[in-house]
């Protein structure tokens, strides 16, 4: 437990003494224990390392650290050996002893744990040389691999809370706001509203108390950068919030976090306790006279609560229904008081701007979108993971250079950006730079940073149906266009996917969309038609094929496809017959199998099981 730090000078001394106590040359084993890696069972690996180190009496000679998400989730469990930064991936849970004996004690590299570059076939030893990392600018997210999220000392040892010290002792609130305005920090949650202007409005608004809120209700399916930041480096987010609170003149803050993120909830809890004990949060922070404290509130499982007014309703203990925002939250937000809401990644950017200045920050990115953005690159992609790049990086660079392209020899079809409010982007736009403005021009948006890659086996009608259905389930039900209109759109899409589409359905979808966009109460409804409109815009033919020709070229929509066995490739291995739950697939060993269409439920088990790609779906 750390005693209270009473001034910026004392903070500097604590940081220095922590750094002095750490030998950068001392060997250190770092294991990623973000949610993704934990799901691989990494906790066992961590236990093994601790036991093996203890058994060899190496506890003093070798440091061991668990950290939050490094981003390369595809390759977990991951182990980094410092100071060389040797990168081991897909590490077996029982490999701990071998890694200690060979790599740490003898300096040998374990070949089988190295990453193999898919393009060149080359084995890569060091983390920085892995193409997935090499092309990134891991400004905000990079710190994750340097700190144990449960250790304030770790964060202080990388000069954590220096920005807070600098802000409290050397800058007026107005100067901080001007710096954030000059840096042109825009909201990372999807809206892209300039954070500095929002801070300024909240500061100038009449009414006390003023609240600041951290939106960690990351609801976009396929996006998890906020969770990984909160989980992996909670003090960074907290530091950003405290600086913001000082600039805005707020003494009370909330973190609204999804209950589905238990590790993030736990780590931010720990961080808040530590910061309070160390005098970095609570009364008289760093002896400056400024006081601010934070409460955590867990969401109940409602996507709409990512919308600010719904989030406030939920924080007040009510159902998460939005209200019309003709009065801004900066004037009347939580409990009708001036409230400044920013998302996790936005807050996490703040310490960098204060530490290194607006000019430096604004040198990264494009004209109107500054800094970096963290994306979650998922779906049909070789390197699933979290990727941080400067704004303006093209989709092609992200998908093919960092993401390693499409796996299983399939071809790229579309990339879905912006979550349920965004759209699907076809191949021809892959060279567009990704920032707040460019993707909007082609009917999608950058949004909070989910990038879902789809290949030729993904159907665009199905994707539109998926998102629309998601929104039907997540609509709060308050206003008519969203509650009833989006549901009618879903019904039409279900018809189209079921082969019951009618002539004129596409036009009707467009017509309903226009009125839903104009007529809905909140942003959820206003943007709900985007997935439908963007797939119509870029994949109109696929709709036509479903409606007029009654076929699904991607082989997804069950009513329009049949499963059959390719007699030329079937080896008669009997796997399909074994896995088929209805007995539709059958045949004798070593003879071509068949599928009885009358019994087939198109569950997909045979295609999944067939090792010879002999199941044809048409």
């Amino acid at each position: 437990m750390m005693s209270k730090i009473k001034s910026f000078d004392e903070l500097k001394r604590v940081q220095e003494s922590l750094k002095a106590g750490r030998d950068p040359k001392k060997p250190c084993i770092t294991v990623c224990v973000g949610t993704g890696c934990l799901a691989y069972g990494t906790q066992k690996l961590v236990d093994n390392f601790r036991e093996e180190l203890a058994a060899r009496n190496l506890g003093d000679k070798i440091d061991f650290r668990t950290t939050g998400c490094h981003g390369f989730c595809e390759r977990g469990p991951m182990v980094i050996i410092s100071p060389e930064k040797i990168f081991y991936q897909r590490v077996g849970l029982a490999d701990a002893g071998e890694i200690i004996d060979k790599t740490l004690l003898k300096g040998e590299i374990i070949e089988r744990l190295l990453y193999v570059d898919g393009a060149t076939g080359e084995k890569i030893v060091h983390e920085d040389d892995v193409p997935f990392y090499k092309k990134q600018t891991r400004l905000v997210f990079g710190l994750n691999s340097k700190v144990d999220p449960e250790s304030l000392e770790d964060y202080l040892a990388i000069d954590g809370y220096s920005a807070l010290g600098k802000a409290l002792t050397g800058m007026t609130p107005e100067e901080i706001i001007q710096e954030v305005i000059k840096a042109n920090l825009r909201g990372r949650g999807g809206g892209g509203f300039p954070a500095g202007w929002k801070w300024d409005s909240t500061r100038k608004a009449k009414g006390e108390p003023k609240y600041i809120v951290c939106n960690a209700d990351e609801g976009d399916p396929g996006a998890y950068m906020d969770r990984s930041l909160l989980e992996g480096n909670p003090h960074l987010v907290l530091e950003g919030m405290i600086i913001g609170a000082y600039a805005i003149g707020s003494s009370e803050g909330y973190i609204y976090v999804r209950n589905e993120y238990p590790l993030a909830v736990k780590n931010i809890h720990i961080a808040i306790e530590q910061a309070r004990e160390a005098g970095l949060l609570g009364k008289n922070i760093l002896g400056s006279g400024f006081s601010f404290d934070v409460k955590i509130n867990r969401g109940g499982g409602a996507f709409v609560c990512g919308e600010s007014s719904a989030l406030f309703a939920s924080l007040e203990g009510r159902a998460g229904e939005p209200r019309a925002k003709y009065v801004h939250a900066t004037d009347r937000g939580l409990y009708d008081k001036p409230t400044n809401l920013n998302n996790v990644e936005t807050w996490a950017n703040v310490p960098f701007i204060i530490n290194r200045g607006a000019d430096w920050y604004a040198s990264i990115g494009t004209d109107n979108s500054k800094g970096t953005k963290i994306f979650s690159l998922v779906g049909k992609i070789s390197n699933t993971g979290l990727v941080e790049v400067p704004m303006g990086t093209t989709l092609r660079e992200i998908v093919f250079e960092i993401g390693g392209g499409i796996p299983d020899g399939r071809t790229f079809k579309a990339i879905q950006t912006g979550g349920p409010s965004g759209g699907c982007i076809p191949e021809k736009y892959l060279d567009l730079p990704v920032d707040f403005d460019e993707l909007t021009k082609i009917g999608s948006m950058m949004g909070s940073g989910g990038l879902i890659v789809m290949d030729d086996r993904n159907c665009m009608v199905d994707v539109a149906k998926y998102f629309t259905n998601f929104l039907v389930n997540e609509s709060c039900g308050k206003c008519v266009p969203c509650r009833e209109g989006v549901r009618r759109m879903r019904d039409i899409l279900v018809d189209v996917a079921d082969g019951k589409g009618q002539e004129g359905d596409v036009e009707l979808l467009e017509q309903i969309s226009a009125a839903v966009i104009d007529g809905s109460l909140c942003a959820l409804g206003n943007s709900a038609p985007n997935p439908v409109l963007s797939t119509i815009r870029h994949f109109r033919d696929e709709y036509r094929e479903h409606i007029q020709e009654k076929r699904c070229p991607a082989g997804v929509c069950k009513a329009l496809i049949t499963y059959s066995v390719d007699p030329d490739t079937c080896t008669g291995c009997t796997v399909c017959a074994k896995v088929c739950p209805t007995g539709a697939a059958s045949g004798e060993r070593k003879k071509v199998h068949t599928i009885d269409q009358a019994k087939c439920t198109k569950c997909g088990a045979c295609r999944e099981g067939c090792k010879f790609d002999a199941i044809i779906v048409r």
Partner: protein, 159 residues
């Protein structure tokens, strides 16, 4: 039950803005939200029961019915969807004979689909009582259900 509610509310100092987390904790302690518990929350926080019923039914995380011994949550995030999560959901529903969101009559299984769990690299993901099972497919889900069914039966015998 009343004491459980009292204790939980005390942790939040009776602050009704914590209604959602309070209900989450009550559900965690009691496995679901029994009607009596909700009336107790209503009385102790002085929040009308109609408001509490509204909140409980609005948020997906709450259940008014007891949950099964094995709680299955299948991630339906986009990454899992494009990798075939829907086919797995169909398989689980078929085997258990219940719809998503329901519990089997013998209280062995509850099956729900959830929004993105943020472990997209492992998608599709099935979570069984908090334990993640990644790279799920139809055959694997069938196997897991069989195993759980057997485990449940042996556990009962031992009781």
């Amino acid at each position: 039950m009343e004491d459980t509610v009292k204790e939980i509310i005390a942790q939040y100092r009776g602050d009704r803005s914590y209604l959602v987390p309070i209900l989450q904790d009550v559900q965690k302690a009691l496995n679901y939200l029994p009607k009596d518990a909700l009336f107790a929350v209503s009385a102790q926080l002085s929040v009308p029961i109609s408001r509490i019923y509204e909140v409980v039914t609005f948020y997906k995380a709450f259940s008014l019915k007891p949950k099964g011994r094995y709680q299955l949550s299948l991630c339906m995030g986009t990454a899992c969807h494009v990798r075939g999560a829907e086919l797995i959901a169909g398989n689980i529903s078929d085997i258990l004979g219940i719809k998503e969101g329901d519990t089997t009559a013998d209280l062995e299984f509850s099956f729900e689909t959830v929004g993105c769990l943020g472990a997209c690299a492992l998608g599709p993901i099935l979570v069984v009582n908090g334990e993640y099972h990644g790279h799920m497919n139809i055959a694997k889900s069938t196997k897991i259900l069989k195993k759980l069914r057997k485990k449940g039966a042996t556990d009962d015998e031992q009781d």
